[in-house]
Amino acid sequence: MAVTEVSPGGTKAIGYARRRQTLISGWLLLFLSVFVAVVFAVPVTGDASFRLAYPGDAFVIPNLVVPAAPYAYVVSALLAFFGIRQFLPGAARWSGLLLGIGLFLVVTAFLTWATADKSFSLTGMLQATIVRAVPIALGGLAGVLCERVAVVNIAIEGMLLAGAFTGAVVGSTLGGAGGLVAAVLVGGLFGLLLAALVVTYRVDQIIAGVAINLLVLGLTSYVSSQVLTHYRELNNAPVFRSINIPFLSDLPLIGPVLFQQNIFVYGALIMVAVATYYLFHTRSGLRARAVGEHPEAADTLGIDVYRLRYLNVTLGGMVAGFGGAWFTLGSVGRFDDNMTNGRGFIGLAAMIFGRWHPVGALMAALVFGFADSLQQKLAILRTPIPAEFLAMAPYIATIVLVAGLIGRARPPAADGKPYIKD
């Protein structure tokens, strides 16, 4: 009567989900290949010249001159190769990487197309990329610090704004360094407020974040129109100038891009490095991550979950405060209503895009920064594409990447959940 014999087994794993994703990226790459050929190669003649040096640089290096059409054909061919590769066995492993490289190539092909017969300063664009990425990267880093201990921080936007405001006002009275310190402290204060609300008073994390954003926006705008309008001298802070790192800053291309920047750029890079070390190589980092993944486990081992949440969220607030100061002390020294203009939310996106890793967040921020600076260059180059669509491109690309590559990226397991003890 027994229906079952011992079952034979022996099925091979067929990765449907991943396979589907590879196929989709395959088709996407093939489409891009055709697109690049038809749009960026066929109708184009002439060379694109990218200026690498400023007049008066120590080393004068010649312009990078790329023949536009041939370059586009090469890119198209590479894309076609990558695309076909996705349909061959063993594609899954390289799928994400190839798609990433492919998209990068498309951007370069686009650039040469737009610059054909013209020229622009590549160095300037890359320098601007870094500068514009700074507040986003710091916002993202603040998010990483908070979410690693499972506190969702929607309030990054508000913390940036608070940092910007404090930087301007205190900077105007105590000087740039004082302003920066104050911005960091005030950012930390708002981090502390968020921690108190969500940890001690168990306010829903999203609600607390939204409320803090509104509060900071209201407070800064109110004080700005009620007070700063009448006391202009309170809104006129000195600005941190670029510091040229000796020798390194004279290197061609890399010099101006990486080593002729202000302390916010250096600060952001250092903070990303320090945060990576802290989170992944120290005792405190291990504990922090444990709190984000499994707070009960941490608690049973004598780790104070609440204290670590307070600590990291406050740290996150300080990082955001520093990033906020960039808007005033790192730029023009003057605060303006809502001047962060959604950069905190983009930082949040960068954090997710960067998979809750400081370096990932920085990379994602660079993508946004690049898109931002690219757009300005393109406006000068006068491409036939409406400016609005160029401006949309990075956001569309983000959606594509988030949907295609990191759709189900895994946040810390306890992310967003309150830990209620006893």
Binding site: Y54, R132, V239, S331, D337, R382
Partner: protein, 317 residues
Amino acid sequence: EFKACQITDTGGVDDKGFNQTAWKGIQDAEKELGVVGKLLESKAETDYVPNINSFISEKCDIIITVGFLLGDATKTAAEANPGTKFSIVDFAYDPVVPNILGQVYATDEAAFLAGYLAAGVSKTGIVGTFGGINIPPVTIFMDGFVHGVNYYNKQKGTSVQVLGWDVEKREGLFTNNFSSLDDGRAFAKNLNEEGADIVMPVAGPVGQGSAALASEMGTDRLKIIGVDVDQYLTDPEHKGVFLTSVLKRMDSTVVEAIRQVKEGTFQGGVIVGTLASGGVGIAPYHDLESEVSDELKGELDAIAAGIKDGSINVKGM
């Protein structure tokens, strides 16, 4: 008491630009004519109508709206409230609305001079401009500037180039806001990287960001042309970077509008500020005087005279 009430556009009253200048006009009127000034700032475009309505119920003797963007809202309100007197800065109606006095400016006349000056002073042979939004009161500066440069090229056989505005296609560089100083800085940097050593930002307070950049880089590498007011005076921290400013004397037209109501001579129509009437002009060169050769100064005087008497056409024809 006589109430003169101003509504700003979204730039706010401390824009160191035209809202502020118009407000200065009201403050001048307070001193000169003994009126009481009132102010409402608009945070968003949806505020325009309710702000106007608030002032209507406050029974203001004249409501002065500032900016092109309030054009529609002002007209609607004026038509619904024929008993209230309005004046709008930077806008005029055709046909005329009987209870609105428009205040417009032939800014291109002054910008033409600034363009000629910039072309004469530039060492790289490239100058630049960018705007806040692509609207006529902004682009009229850029038009005049480009035509001024072109006029210089024609006169001198040079080929000074203007980045940031294409007169024919009506496209160019715009920050799409009148508030972000950081944009002002970034846009000027961008133009400078492409070779421009003189930049004219036409975006209200945004220009202060450009000025900050110029004072950081030094006027050898970047000079700024201010707009609306003499920014040498209103932006003292960075005053050294202003080659000149393209003046638009809204304060004087605002006082004039208030005076008309006060004296009972108010009627709908338009006041136009021109180079000839002194409603527009260019500011002194202040600290950068030495950069401008006497020869160039002389040419500029001649051109100004030519514009006033109509022998030079600033529209590039």
